[in-house]
């Protein structure tokens, strides 16, 4: 199946990001939102895992980046920024959502 995995916790505070990245399978997608968007930034301890995950598209929710003062240029290349409608589209086009809360 092609699943949408969601992460809403900071990778520096909780294990949600690390666990998700270790369970996500090729062909699935990861959406970072709420404090999860901190994993989308360049130059963090999480960057390597975001870049090295194979065959997995990573998205970040724009409104949560904006709310935290995180400009688009700080986001890792290849991470696609989506709005709320994009979130809905992602949820609809995947087989199911797996939330790493």
């Amino acid at each position: 199946m092609s699943d949408l995995h969601t992460i809403n916790k900071s990778p520096f505070e909780k294990s949600s990001f690390d666990s998700c990245m270790e369970h996500v399978l090729e062909g699935s997608a990861v959406l970072l939102y709420e404090d999860g968007v901190y994993a989308a930034l360049k130059g963090t301890a999480a960057e390597g895992k975001v870049k090295s995950v194979q065959g997995v598209k990573v998205y970040a929710l724009g409104p949560d980046l904006n709310a935290r003062g995180l400009q688009e240029e700080r986001v890792i290349d290849g991470v696609e920024i989506v709005d709320y409608a994009g979130f809905v589209d992602l949820a609809a086009k995947h087989d199911k959502v797996v939330a790493w809360v």
Partner: protein, 136 residues
């Protein structure tokens, strides 16, 4: 209502007592068990602490809900997947866990183990094979 039977997985990633997640998960599992769906539980990360044996909560003033896991087999909830790496990271082995069983009516009520220790890679496959995943 559709009578299609779906696979539901309850993904447990938190320790008991420190937060309400573990207990809430158990409550939802028991409610969901009334709906004749295929239900399984996964214990990952700190979730493995939920089924450690010998829990005694008298001195913290909270209900010890660990005996409830032993009742799951009676509700046809008999597939409990425990991630081996999560156990090992926490210094646990399967011997530290409660012995959870169920009785197979198709085999003259033979007692069988509910817990299956699986690798992280196997857990990833188990998750993706589900129709619905509830995260706690």
């Amino acid at each position: 209502m559709s009578e299609e039977i779906k696979n539901f997985l309850y993904l447990n990633r938190r320790a008991p007592y420190g937060t309400i997640y573990a207990w809430e998960s158990l409550e939802v599992v028991l409610i969901g068990a009334a709906f004749d769906q295929k239900v399984s539980l996964a214990f990952v990360d700190d979730g493995v602490f939920q089924i450690v044996k010998g829990q005694k909560t008298e001195q913290i003033g909270m209900k010890n809900f660990s005996p409830t896991y032993s009742a799951l087999g009676d509700y046809d909830v008999n597939q409990l997947y425990v991630e081996r790496e999560s156990l090992e990271e926490r210094g646990l082995t399967v011997d530290d866990l409660m012995h959870l069983t169920w009785e197979d009516e198709d085999e003259d009520w033979a007692e069988k183990d509910s817990i299956r220790v699986v690798s992280r890679a196997e857990m990833a496959e188990i998750i993706t094979q589900q129709d619905v995943v509830f995260s706690f």
